[in-house]
């Protein structure tokens, strides 16, 4: 059943004609960049062949999920960029990777047997490879002779070293074989390549099948087409006024919220609040025109991205930037006569036109996204959690900007769970059930015990000796004891991530020392928990994270540790659940449980509260208390100095790599009940 459904889908994918849509373009570009990065690393480590296989697997996964045109464009882009890596090697690697990747991926998508896969790979890959290399060797005759001469020399040299020349028949027959291969190179070369092609196709098939299975587990086997715009309403562009009257909100076939009522008039500023999973983002997507919007009453088309229509800005600052430079980014899709300087000036980015978008801070990238929106003179601005990834300063700037935009006559609908954002709006609409943030509370909060880690005069210089070297940490002192809660704050680029990597042992300080206590096991939970969760179900994930491979006595003991970690984090009921269906907060708890079951005694949490609603925040705070009660030291790294935990033992604030007014609470203030 599933197979036929996939086959149907595949046929639909193959039957698509015409230029690539947004999803295909983005996937092609990301694959091209990934293969380029892989080949660049291979070039640097002088291990080109191994990395070529990895690049081929990336193309295979792309081919299994997309039509041929997508793969061709990705390969063309990669080949053009690999000129930068020097010589003919990387260019050949990316082209060969594209051919064999396409064949391998297409075979996987169509369920071909091993033999059919080899057949397709040979059909597609072998002729161009053989012909190109024959032509190259024939034209570059000097290089060919030089290469052959070196092969002869090596063989002769080895013989001389072991004193075998003219003394060993084995060496002589070796010489004969080499000479005949060299003499017959126009035949020997393609024959060798033929057999290598078969082996290569098999390796690619084996690896890609495993990788594709993992990718399909995580992303779903079918590339979602939910970025297509609905055309329910016709006529001229008129995004506001709009109204939804008690209608359900859907993502695909799945009903996120049973009933939502909302009305937005011209010039209005409406904020939507609600707990995680209540459908805030889905509601904004629906308003923007993604998916079906039959239930929205409007007088005209929403006109997403059109002049005088609606503009949409989302949560992740770096995710919305499309072009390498600021001015190109503004011009993307904007009217031809757009005044780039004026658009930038209106968001306080005057003179940023030539800057690289990748070097902007999160707040600047969000302002750029707003400038891009304003360049279309929209009637309605949709803003989905646009401040949740920013530090307080960036948040205040964005809020002021949104206020100005609204006052200039643009209606604004924004989602947020931060009180400061909600206060900006004319009115707040709450969807879904109200939140119930209730803390379990802890009576005794002083868990501080033995020393786990002492850092003395720690400094870190990136790329020491290179012209772009810069010191990100200078002379940091830090002691972490068991059961302690340490908060490290600082803005982007303050060095807090580097300090976290040093604490957890991923980086070594360029000067200074890090001393560890006995029996210290360190682990880090990164901000995007999803990257660290690789297995389909919670149970499998916990086993993998905890390092349980089998049912040996060690395995059983680990099983008990996993069960106890699941209890501590309140996820005992989630064992068989698929990781994808969990909310961000739940995924974070699964990750922490796995790291705990591994025996972690020093746990670093990177931005643990980003994207969580009040309830999620309180739950996580309780989790932290629970960990500390069991003797685990918890280090929280955040850009938010107002981190809501009132029982922080040590607060270290970093400004440009230096500790400033670090408050040590343990010595001054031990809370008592």
């Amino acid at each position: 059943m599933a197979r036929t459904k996939n086959d149907q889908h595949r046929r639909a994918v193959d039957a698509t004609k015409g230029p690539l849509d947004a999803t295909e373009l983005a996937d092609a570009a990301i694959a091209a960049a990934l293969v380029f990065a892989i080949l660049a690393i291979g070039r640097l480590l002088a291990a080109g062949t191994f990395f070529q296989v990895l690049g081929t697997v990336v193309f295979a996964v792309l081919a299994a999920r997309h039509r041929t045109r997508t793969v061709v464009l990705a390969v063309v882009s990669t080949v053009l960029f690999t000129v930068l890596l020097g010589g003919t090697g990387p260019i050949t690697q990316s082209a060969v990777g594209g051919l064999f990747g396409w064949a391998g991926g297409t075979s996987l998508a169509r369920g071909y047997s091993r033999f059919k896969t080899i057949g397709l790979s040979l059909l597609v890959g072998f002729p161009p490879v053989a012909m190109a290399s024959l032509a190259f060797f024939w034209l570059a005759d000097e290089l060919r002779e030089l290469t052959f001469e070196n092969v002869r020399n090596q063989w002769k040299g080895i013989g001389r070293i072991f004193d075998l020349v003219n003394a060993s028949s084995a060496h002589d027959s070796g010489t004969e074989i080499i000479e005949s291969i060299i003499g017959w190179w126009p035949v020997a070369l393609p024959v060798t390549q033929f057999f290598i092609s078969i082996v290569y196709a098999l390796i690619v098939r084996r690896l890609s099948r495993r990788v594709l299975r993992g990718v399909n587990d995580a992303l779903g086997p079918v590339v979602p087409m939910d970025l297509e715009l609905s055309n329910a309403t016709e006529g001229p562009v008129a995004p506001v006024p709009l109204a939804i009257d008690g209608a359900p909100i859907r993502r695909g076939d799945y009903v996120v919220n049973e009933s939502v009522t909302l009305a937005v008039g011209e010039d209005e500023h409406v904020a939507i609040s609600g707990r995680n999973g209540s459908g805030k983002s889905t509601l904004l997507d629906t308003l923007a025109g993604f998916g079906a919007d039959d239930d929205i009453e409007r007088t005209g088309r929403p006109g997403l991205g059109e002049v005088g229509g609606l503009a949409y800005v989302s949560q992740r600052p770096e995710g919305q930037v499309l072009a390498p430079t600021v001015s190109e980014d503004i011009r993307w899709g904007a009217p031809d006569d757009v005044d780039v300087e004026a658009a930038l000036a209106s968001v306080g980015l005057a003179g940023f036109g030539d800057r690289l978008t990748s070097e902007l801070s999160g707040g600047e990238q969000q302002r750029l996204a707003l400038a891009s929106a304003l360049a279309r003179q929209p009637k309605l601005l949709l803003a989905d959690e646009i401040t949740s990834m920013l530090d307080p300063e960036g948040r205040a700037q964005i809020n002021a900007l949104v206020r100005d935009i609204n006052e200039s006559g643009v209606a604004v609908v924004r989602t947020s769970h931060l009180a400061a954002d909600l206060d900006e709006a004319d009115r707040v609409v709450t969807i879904g059930e109200p939140q119930r943030p209730e803390s379990q509370g802890l009576l005794n909060t002083n868990f501080v015990g033995r020393m786990l880690l002492t850092a003395t005069d720690v400094s870190f210089v990136y790329d020491r000796g290179k012209p772009w070297a810069h010191e990100v940490l200078s002379d940091v002192d830090l002691t972490i004891r068991s059961g302690e809660l340490v908060l490290i704050t600082g803005s982007n680029g303050s060095g807090k991530s580097t300090l976290a990597r040093i604490i957890v042992g991923l980086a070594s300080p360029t000067s200074g020392t890090v001393e560890l206590g006995e029996e210290v096991h360190r682990a880090i939970a990164f901000q995007h928990a999803r990257l660290q969760l690789l297995r389909p179900t919670v149970e499998q994930e916990l086993n993998s994270l905890a390092g349980a491979h089998n049912q040996t006595p060690q395995g059983i003991e680990r099983g008990q540790r996993i069960a106890s970690a699941m209890r501590s984090l309140g996820i005992s009921h989630l064992g068989k659940t698929r990781v994808d269906t969990l909310s961000g907060g739940q995924q974070r708890r699964v990750l922490i449980a796995g790291l705990l079951a591994r025996g972690t005694t020093l746990l670093v949490l990177d931005e643990p509260l980003a994207g969580l609603d009040d309830e999620g925040r309180v739950q996580l705070t309780d989790v932290v208390d629970q960990l500390r009660r069991e003797g685990t030291a918890v280090v929280v790294v955040s850009h938010d100095p107002t981190w809501g935990h009132d029982r922080v033992d040590q607060h270290l604030h970093l400004v440009q790599g230096r500790l400033t007014d670090g408050v040590n609470l343990t010595s001054t203030e031990v809370p008592s009940e």
């Binding site: 947004a22 990301i30 090596q154 690789l534």
Partner: protein, 256 residues
């Protein structure tokens, strides 16, 4: 990772002010000369020219990457075999032919890499993407979808720092995964390494696919799936001069 290797070094110089496509074409011409005429003279000319341009570009010596130790040992091993084979010319009783052939091949590789590095160090990726797009633009006359390729090229430039970020985080995560128990040494270690590689590949592809989704949504939100055109080409004398010199050198090397 990749953007550390091919790091653009923002030092103003005549080389930097050259158009990306002029540098690209010159480098391709010169590489062809080297590949088709790998003589000591050509290698010498390319190396001297390279050093001169390196000086002209005000590049600091510190940016030259250090080759990995493994590679150095491999090269050293090859050198022993090549030296032992002897051959003409003979200097003070030692046959240097084999060694010289070997060194010629190695020097060829180093010079090619050096030239590629020079392009990377003096050209921003954004500029290079724009240059590539201008170069392929005329192909639209023979039916090549240059708009579409141009958009993918522009998005690839944008994607590189995102991908590098993702690769870095996944590398960190892979490093912190638990090591297998001692019973799994030997062949078990290889299996474990294979599983780890597959896991890491899955994580990178999944992570970058999510970035791709953000990118696609941003494109739809802007109402356009086509990148704005780069600034039109303003051909300057220095650009023409660079390409003409490189092409002349290549043609001359073929004729001599």
């Amino acid at each position: 990772m990749s953007n550390d290797i091919l790091r653009d070094v923002p030092i103003d110089s005549p080389v930097r002010r050259l158009r990306a496509e002029a540098k690209l074409l010159s480098m391709v011409a010169l590489s062809m000369a080297l590949v088709f005429e790998p003589t000591w003279i050509m290698i010498g000319i390319a190396a001297l020219l390279g050093v001169a341009i390196f000086r002209l570009a005000n590049l600091p010596v510190a940016i030259l990457p250090r080759p990995p130790a493994m590679l150095m040992w491999g090269l050293f091993g090859g050198m022993i075999g090549a030296s032992a084979s002897g051959g003409d010319p003979v200097v003070i009783g030692l046959g240097l032919g084999g060694l010289l052939d070997y060194l010629r091949l190695i020097c060829l590789g180093i010079v090619l890499l050096f030239w590629a590095g020079m392009l990377a160090w003096t050209t921003g990726l954004a500029e290079l993407g724009a240059g590539l797009r201008r170069l392929i633009h005329p192909l639209r006359r023979i039916g090549v979808p240059t708009e579409e390729i141009g958009t993918v090229l522009a998005l690839t430039v944008r994607a590189l720092p995102l991908v590098a970020d993702e690769v870095r985080v996944v590398a960190d995560i892979t490093m912190t995964r638990p090591t297998p128990p001692p019973s799994k040494r030997g062949f078990g270690m290889i299996i474990h390494g294979f599983a780890l590689a597959v896991d890491a590949a899955v994580a990178v592809v999944v992570g970058t696919s999510r970035r791709a989704r953000d990118m696609a949504k941003a494109m739809v939100s802007r109402g356009s799936t086509s990148a704005p055109h780069p600034d039109p080409m303003r051909i300057r004398f220095s650009d023409v001069l660079a390409v003409v010199c490189a092409v002349t050198l290549t043609v001359v090397s073929f004729m001599v």
